[in-house]
């Protein structure tokens, strides 16, 4: 029998606010242990939480960017469980009134992955175990999180990968999180079950906790899918449990259940008051949202006639897209700028974060100038290319690299002179041409171009050479 995967995601995303969700400590990653702490975020007796306005705004933006409804009335609840990384023995979260619900993300295959809800909550501290000792660092404690919960709509690891990548892309684009999985600012729990293809029922699901790499996620899901198939095939049944993925052995293993079956005893946090997001506020935040990457991609293909692949490369990072759009302002050929950026400029940005920030020593303005020179026929493509390379290497300005005379081009007489030289000094090529080798003329044109340092008009040169040979 053939089985299909049924998977849903719970994704935790750390919000890129300056301060923690309930106190004014920094949210900066890392730092010496317990140096980003105050009485509030280590839960000293008597301290009280005060909700960070920007956390609400970012969560609403995340909701809007994933097609969610934004709740007008919302509240904070306490999720009670005792663990050393949780200083108050409860996590302030949202239970039955999340800020955002009923959204979706559309995949390239047209399938919509439904978003059940997005709620805000506080992150926990970090435990380090060494030789049985437990060390606790609360720097991360109280960093704002949104939890994005999807419906079990994912059917393949490819869809899973695209879902996570899209989430990452959106959150970065709208500027609510850097989504650095390696730094834990984006973490995924995946619940996964299997069922015979065509069946509508849901099988018993297992949950793989806390994965912080897209490759691990897909590997873990593949492994878990096959494991469940084996279990079913061997006539046994899948046990509902929480699993940990081990990337070294590439296996999942059961997390030994805490002694107490979880009963979180949710109740409204009496230290915090109702959250009321007015429709005006929602409209305001919606207006602040940038054009999303997929919308841009579509527009680049339709408006600029770029191939899908180019459009994707140019929209993946917000800064690059902005750079591109500036560089083509008032130019005739958006494709040229795309080729320059992808073909040449990308050689100067290697890793993700460099693309994220996209600081290169050719401003979008000077690239724009360069392209306008091409449009106006003042310089030829190959000169433009080499100039761009020089600019990228030296950081020199356009006008420092090409002079007026370079841009002047050659008048017809100068071209005729060069053509005569070309014919004289290449008898073989001339003979080949006479004997019907059309291609031979190219090498003669090449001679002209070389000796005019690219300034001659190759079409003109070819015409003249043709005439010279005919008349000889």
């Amino acid at each position: 029998m053939r089985y299909e995967m049924v998977a849903g995601f719970e994704t935790h995303v750390e919000l890129a606010t300056n301060t923690k969700i309930f106190c004014s400590c920094t949210t900066q990653f890392g730092g010496e242990p317990n140096t980003h702490c105050c009485p509030i975020c280590i839960g000293l007796p008597g301290t009280l939480p005060k909700l960070n306005k920007r956390v609400v705004e970012y969560a609403v933006k995340a909701g809007l960017a994933t097609n969610c409804e934004i709740a007008e009335i919302s509240k904070m609840d306490r999720k009670n469980y005792c663990y050393p990384d949780l200083p108050k023995a409860y996590q302030i979260s949202q239970y039955d009134m999340p800020l955002c619900k009923n959204g979706y993300i559309e995949l390239s295959n047209g399938r919509k992955i439904r978003i059940t809800r997005i709620h805000i909550e506080e992150d926990a501290g970090k435990l380090v175990h060494s030789r049985g000792n437990t060390l606790v660092d609360y720097n991360r404690g109280g960093v704002p999180l949104i939890e994005i919960v999807s419906e079990p709509d994912i059917r393949t690891v490819e869809e899973a990968r695209e879902y996570v990548e899209k989430l990452q892309l959106i959150m970065r684009y709208i500027g609510v999180s850097d989504c650095k999985m390696q730094e834990g600012s984006m973490r995924c729990d995946v619940n996964i079950s299997i069922r015979p293809v065509g069946s509508e029922e849901l099988g018993t699901r297992t949950e793989i906790k806390n994965m912080n790499s897209i490759n691990f996620i897909t590997k873990a899901m593949e492994y878990e899918f096959n494991r469940q198939v084996d279990v079913i095939e061997s006539g046994e049944s899948v046990v509902q449990e929480t699993l940990r993925y081990d990337d070294v052995s590439n296996t999942t293993s059961s997390m030994r259940g805490k002694e107490d079956a979880n009963d979180y005893r949710y109740f409204r946090d009496p230290d915090l008051v109702t959250i009321n997001v007015s429709r005006e506020k929602v409209a305001e935040l919606k207006a602040e949202l940038p054009e999303l990457p997929f919308e841009k991609q579509k527009r680049y293909v339709e408006e600029f006639g770029l191939p899908e692949s180019d459009a994707q490369l140019l929209t993946k990072y917000r800064k690059i897209a902005e750079y591109y759009e500036k560089s083509i302002e008032g130019t005739k050929n958006p494709k040229t700028a795309a080729n320059f950026i992808i073909g040449q400029i990308f050689r100067y940005v290697d890793n993700e974060s460099e693309k994220e920030s996209f600081n290169i020593n050719v401003s979008s303005e000077s690239l724009n100038e360069l392209i306008k020179l091409i449009d106006s026929g003042k310089i030829r493509m190959n000169l433009a290319k080499s100039t761009l390379d020089k600019m990228l290497e030296t950081g020199k300005k356009l006008n420092e690299l090409i002079s007026e005379s370079d841009m002047a081009g050659l008048d017809e007489n100068a071209v005729k002179e060069l053509c005569r030289q070309a014919v004289e000094s290449n008898p073989n090529a001339v003979n080949d041409y006479k004997n019907g080798k059309q291609k031979a003329i190219k090498s003669l044109v090449g001679y002209v171009m070389k000796n005019s340092r690219g300034k001659a008009d190759p079409m003109l040169a070819e015409r003249i050479i043709g005439e010279i040979i005919k008349n000889s």
Partner: protein
């Protein structure tokens, strides 16, 4: 009527030990208290939704950083600490 088992279950959730000696008298007390609490279920009045006492909403903080505390102060009350962290020693070595 609350059972010993239920008391044990909530004791675990409360991170409290209940010794064999305590369990009976505690169960008895808890039973009285819970029976007393139960009297609210005689209320014919279904009640009224209760939000927060003064119906406040949108009390929010601006996202402006304030320097954190010195670590010495953060750790000042910890019984054990090491490497700038709160420490729970492994005493089973």
């Amino acid at each position: 009527m609350v059972s010993k088992e239920e008391i044990m279950k909530i004791a675990i959730l409360s991170k409290l030990f209940v010794s064999e000696e305590e369990i009976d008298s505690l169960t008895e007390d808890m039973d009285k208290i819970i029976a007393f609490a139960d009297t609210i279920n005689n209320a014919t009045d279904a009640g009224t939704d209760f939000d927060n006492i003064n119906n406040l909403s949108d009390v929010l903080r601006d996202d402006v950083e304030v320097p954190s505390y010195d670590r010495e102060k953060i750790l000042a009350n910890a019984k054990d600490s090491a490497d700038g962290c709160f420490l729970v020693k492994n005493i089973m070595k």
